[in-house]
């Protein structure tokens, strides 16, 4: 009798349970498939530009310029890298350097049309030479990005180079002094030599 009872509907799993189970499994399969879609998207930000921009801000903050340049805004001029320019504007344009507001200036041509405390360019060769020449002997920290195997570009004060996949910078101290720039100790200590 009880053996018969044990087969009765209530103790057995009813049809709806089976149907619900099928639905769960089907839903699960769908969930997995959906789950694998919409994976992470590659962040296409220019990491080199971000790194260089961060260094330029450090240069602005940790070096010193002659007194006569401490009026008006503190200007960083950018030539040849619009992404870097945009990043600097976005990230640092509301900051101040000492008592001066930071201003980022874009140069379309290889010529320093107005005085900037820092002038960064990705040009090389003649174009770079022309740009550097336009700065004369003014207290401009010319920053370049030339991966020359021999030496840093003539007239450049700082030059970005790549060492072990990292952006580093080399420094021409004589040129800095010649332009009346006082290189901060921190900047000096992190500079690399070839």
């Amino acid at each position: 009798m009880h053996n018969a009872k044990i087969h009765k509907q209530p103790i057995n799993n009813s049809v709806w349970v089976v149907l619900a189970s099928v639905a769960i499994i089907a839903g699960l399969g769908l969930a997995w498939i959906q789950g694998d879609q919409g994976g992470p998207k590659l962040d296409e930000a220019d990491t080199i530009a971000i790194t260089k921009a961060s260094f330029l801000f450090q240069f602005a903050r940790s070096n010193d310029w002659p007194e006569e340049t401490k009026e008006g805004n503190f200007k960083i001029g950018i030539h040849g890298n619009r992404i870097l320019f945009n990043f600097l504007v976005e990230k640092y344009s509301s900051q101040s350097i000492g008592s001066q507001m930071l201003e980022v200036v874009w140069y379309e041509e290889a010529e320093m049309a107005e005085f900037t405390h820092i002038l960064y360019s990705e040009s090389e060769g003649e174009e770079l030479a022309r740009l550097i020449e336009s700065t004369g002997n003014q207290p401009v920290m010319v920053v370049t990005s030339v991966n020359s195997e021999i030496e840093m570009p003539k007239g450049s004060v700082m030059n970005f180079i790549v060492q072990s996949s990292r952006i580093r910078y080399e420094l021409d101290m004589d040129n800095a002094l010649l332009r009346g720039l006082i290189v901060g100790n921190r900047i000096l200590s992190w500079a690399v030599t070839r």
């Binding site: 044990i6 992470p40 930000a45 990230k91």
Partner: protein, 319 residues
């Protein structure tokens, strides 16, 4: 003489059966108690059923498949009750389900060993099938409503599901689903990390823990299925993006020392991203996203020649 002896043996046999019958039918006998427990279980009086059956499982009925089934069935009933009242993942519901599975498996094993197996096994299979699906359902729910630190719990549900399925049908293979679960957990951690990335109330340590989970789930998926392209690609992207996010965290408060330190971390992450991206590329070298990934990672590592090589391949693939 022989006839007389046969008659005596028949009488003895009848007496034995009579006593056995009395013993079976006697209130309080094991078989009777099991029957009563069944009646209780059928009526939904699970407490009473268990009160009756569970003491027997340790002694008289320890080898009785029917008894184990009834106990498992009653715990399954209680699990359903708790699920109805709170959630399938509440502590009480989980405990009931776990005991139900254990007892049903015991019933299944005993019934398979029996001289005439089948009756109980069929019932047990239905019950286990139902419970296995509740585990799977909880794993899916765990991913969809993912909360930090519940990875092991979700994986645990899935493992229970697989354990039961393997008993019901040893030929079933759930490896593909396990790989997908690992990838889904990686994604769940990533989404959670992205949602708190800019939060200042969440500590760096917590963010770091989430990121480590993302990586470890993808690595496990790769370990389980060495041919999984998506796990490799997604792992590479996550590692790379993490590096970019570190760089983006640099601001006016960052010191020169920190800037150098962040660069070191980024380069390490970019290098770590390169390996799975190259593996993904070797698995399918026509995929544009992999070519783009390699172009980008090499550029971030300032390996411009390599970057240009993949840029060219990407341009050709786009044509």
């Amino acid at each position: 003489m022989n006839m007389h002896r046969i008659n005596r043996q028949i009488i003895l046999l009848c007496v034995t059966f009579l006593f056995a019958g009395i013993a079976i039918a006697q209130p309080g006998s094991t078989a009777n108690q099991i029957d009563e427990a069944i009646s209780f279980a059928e009526e939904g009086a699970y407490e009473s059923a268990l009160k009756m059956i569970e003491p027997l499982l340790e002694n008289e009925a320890r080898n009785d498949a029917r008894a184990w089934y009834v106990a498992g069935y009653a715990h399954k009933g209680r699990y359903k009750d708790y699920t109805f009242r709170s959630a399938s993942t509440s502590k009480l519901a989980c405990a009931e389900r776990s005991i139900a599975v254990e007892q049903l498996l015991e019933a299944y094993e005993l019934d398979k060993k029996a001289t005439f197996p089948g009756k109980i096994s069929e019932l047990v299979e239905d019950a286990l099938d139902y419970l296995s699906k509740t585990y799977m359902s909880d794993a899916v729910k765990g991913v969809h409503g993912f909360q930090k630190g519940t990875d092991e719990e979700v994986l645990g549900y899935f493992m229970e599901f697989v354990k039961i399925r393997n008993v019901l049908d040893p030929t079933e293979n759930w490896l593909r689903e396990e790989v997908e679960l690992e990838k889904n957990l990686a994604k769940a951690n990533r989404v959670l990390l992205a949602s708190i990335a800019s939060s200042k109330t969440t500590s760096t340590k917590q963010k770091e823990e989430l990121f480590e989970k993302v990586v470890s789930h993808y690595l496990r998926a790769i370990e389980l299925d060495s041919d999984d392209y998506a796990a490799r690609y997604n792992l590479a992207i996550n590692l790379y993006n993490r590096g970019v996010s570190e760089l983006k965290s640099i601001d006016h408060t960052t010191s020169m020392f920190e800037l150098m330190e962040i660069q070191d971390i980024c380069v390490l992450l970019f290098k770590e991203a390169l390996e799975p991206m190259l593996e993904a590329y070797n698995m399918d070298n026509d995929r544009k996203e992999t070519l783009k990934g390699l172009m980008t990672i090499y550029r971030a590592l300032s390996k411009n020649e390599e970057s240009d090589k993949y840029k060219l391949l990407l341009e050709e693939a786009v044509k």
